[in-house]
Symmetry: C2
Subunit: 326 residues, 2 copies
C-alpha cells in the first residue's frame, strides 16, 4: 500500500479541505499520513469522525516567501517535514497544494535529484486528448532552461507517457514556433541536436496547436513558456465550452434544445473536470511528488493523493531512473 505524506497545511483551503481530502483518499486504500500542526489536524479529524496518522510540523511557508530560502530556514515547515519523510523512507510519495516553489525546492533540496537530472520539472498529463494522452513539461518549475534540461525533460516525459499512457516508444517533440529544423531560439536549436542524437524517439519541432493533433506524445519546453501556455489552453477550453453552453442552454435557446443537450453537456463536463486530475507530477526527484492547485477542494486533494499513490505503484521514479541510465 502506497504511503503518501500529505502536506495538510498547504493550499488556499488548508487545512480543513486538505484533511477531508486525505480522509477520502484513505478510504480508497491509500496509507495517508497527515503532516502539519498536530492539535489542529487532530481536531479536524475528530470533526470528521476519522482516524489518520499525524506527523507534527509547526511551521508553514507562505506564498510570498522565497522558496529556496524558506526551505533552508524552516526545518519545521509542513512541506519540509513531508519531504524528509520521503527522503528517510517513511513515505513513498508527497502531495502538497501549497506554494509550488516551496514544493519544488523541498523536492530538490530535501528528497534530492535523480542522478543525471539537473532540474526537477513539473509534468502535466492530459489524458482526455482524443489522439491519446500527452505529457507536457516543464510546467513552471524552471523559468529559464538550458538545452540539456530539455533533453532531460524528454527522458522524464517519456517515462510518464509509458507509465500512464502505455506508449512503448513515446514520440518527443520540442515546442517551437515552426516545425522545420533551425526554428526557434538558441535553446530550441541546441536542444534539437541533443534530442536527435539521443536514444529517445525524437520527432523534431512541434507547435502549440499540435497539443491536440497527435504528432507527439511528449512536449518539452522551458517552464515559463509551459506555464503560460498551459494556463492559456485551460482558459481557452473553459471559454469555448462557455460560449457553446451559452448558445445551447442560454436564455436565447429554446426548451427543447435545453432539454436534450443539458444532460449530454453535463456528462461531458464532469468527465473533463480539472479537479479529476488533482495535480501535476514533479519529476526528477528520488521519490514521487505531486503538486496540487492552490485552490484544490477536498475532491481535488483526494484525486491528487490518488495520483501520487498510482505513481508509486506503477514505479514511475524507477522508470525515469532506468531511462536516464539507458
Amino acid at each position: 500500500m502506497a504511503r503518501i505524506a500529505l502536506d495538510a497545511m498547504g493550499g488556499d483551503h488548508a487545512p480543513a479541505e486538505v484533511v477531508a481530502g486525505g480522509v477520502e483518499a484513505a478510504k480508497s486504500g491509500i496509507d495517508v499520513r497527515l503532516v502539519g500542526d498536530e492539535p489542529t489536524l487532530r481536531g479536524l479529524l475528530d470533526d470528521l469522525g476519522a482516524e489518520l496518522p499525524v506527523v507534527h510540523a509547526g511551521e508553514t511557508i507562505g506564498m510570498d516567501e522565497d522558496p529556496r530560502f524558506a526551505i533552508r530556514e524552516k526545518k519545521g515547515a509542513s512541506v519540509s517535514v513531508a519531504a524528509r519523510m520521503v527522503a528517510d523512507g517513511d513515505a513513498d510519495g508527497l502531495y502538497s497544494a501549497g506554494s509550488t516553489g516551496a514544493t519544488v525546492a523541498a523536492a530538490a533540496l530535501l528528497i534530492g535529484r535523480l542522478e543525471g537530472i539537473a532540474r526537477p520539472a513539473i509534468a502535466n498529463l492530459y489524458l482526455m486528448i482524443p489522439s491519446g494522452g500527452i505529457v507536457l513539461l516543464d510546467g513552471g518549475a524552471n523559468l529559464e532552461c538550458r538545452p540539456e534540461h530539455l533533453y532531460q525533460f524528454g527522458v522524464m516525459g517519456s517515462a510518464l507517457s509509458t507509465v500512464y499512457v502505455g506508449k512503448e516508444r513515446p514520440r518527443v517533440g520540442i515546442l517551437n514556433i515552426g516545425s522545420e529544423e533551425g526554428k526557434g531560439r538558441d535553446l530550441e536549436k541546441e536542444a534539437y541536436g541533443l534530442l536527435r542524437d539521443s536514444n529517445l524517439n525524437f520527432v523534431g519541432n512541434v507547435e502549440g496547436h499540435d497539443l491536440g493533433t497527435g504528432v507527439a506524445d511528449v512536449f518539452v519546453t522551458d517552464g515559463f513558456t509551459g506555464n503560460v501556455l498551459l494556463k492559456a489552453a485551460e482558459g481557452t477550453a473553459r471559454f469555448v465550452a462557455q460560449i457553446i453552453t451559452d448558445v445551447l442552454l442560454g436564455r436565447e435557446s429554446d426548451p427543447q434544445t435545453i432539454e436534450v443537450t443539458r444532460p449530454k453537456l453535463q456528462e461531458l463536463y464532469d468527465r473533463v473536470d480539472p479537479e479529476a486530475y488533482g495535480g501535476s507530477h514533479l519529476v526528477g526527484a528520488k521519490g514521487v511528488v505531486v503538486i496540487g492547485h492552490g485552490s484544490s477542494s477536498r475532491r481535488a486533494v483526494a484525486n491528487g493523493v490518488g495520483l501520487a499513490a498510482e505513481a508509486v505503484e506503477r514505479g514511475l521514479v524507477e522508470r525515469i531512473a532506468a531511462g536516464l541510465g539507458g
Copy 2:
C-alpha cells in the same frame, strides 16, 4: 480609398487564391494593387474576368530562406516591391501571406520603423472574447526581447485597442506565471518597472487564463511565448469545439439532439471562423502591414486586405506614433 499593395506571390495557394481574394476585396471598394509576376497575374485576372492594377515583381522569397538576407539581396521580390510602394507613398498598406519573417524584415528595412520603436511586432486581435476584444503581442516577430520592447508593445497594443475595440485607456498586462509583482524572468521583472512608470494604464502581471477573463485589454510578451501560446489556444479552441460537437452530433447522439443543435452550432462556428480575421497586424513600421496565414484562402485574403484598409482608414499608424510621443 485605402490603397493596399497585395503581395500576390506569397502564401501556400499563391498566386491564384491571392489574386481571387484581391479581386473580392476590390469589389468592396478597396484600391487593391497586385504585386508579382505580371504575365502570371494578368492571366489570372483574365480568367476571373477582372481588372486590377498590377505592379511587376519578378522574384519571390521561399519559406526556407533567411528573411533579412533575402530582403537585402532580392530587390525584385514581390514583398520587397510591395513594401517599397508603401515607403514611397504609392500604397497606404501592405498585405502578404508569404514568409512571415520576410514580411517582418521588409517592414523594418524597407518601410522603416516608427521613431521610438526598436522592433515591429505581430499583434493579434481577438474580438470574439465576451469580455471585449483583446490584443496580444508579440505574436512571433521577435523571439527574444528586452524589457523596453515589452513597453513598446504596450504602447502599440494600446493604440490597437483604442482603434479596434474602442477602449479609451486600455489596460496593459504582462503575461507571466503569476499575478504578483516580482514573478517571472528578469525580462518580466524589469518590464514591470518600465510599464508601471509609464503613462500607460498598466495593470501588472496577468496569466495565460486571463486571455478570457477581462482583466486586461492588452497582453504583452516576447514573440516566442506569444507564438506558442496563441497556437496552443487556437488548437485548444478547435479541440474543445470538436469534442462537444462529437457528443452532440456524433454517431452516439440521437436524431432529435442532432436536429436541434446542428443549426445553432453551425451558426456559432461560422461566426468564430479564423478566416474571418484574415491576418494579424505587424505594428511599429511607418505604414500599415497585415500578415496573413500561409494557408489563406481567397476569403481569408479578402478579409486580410480589408483589415489593412480599415487600419489605414482608422489611422492606426498615426495613433501609434501619437502614443509614442505622449
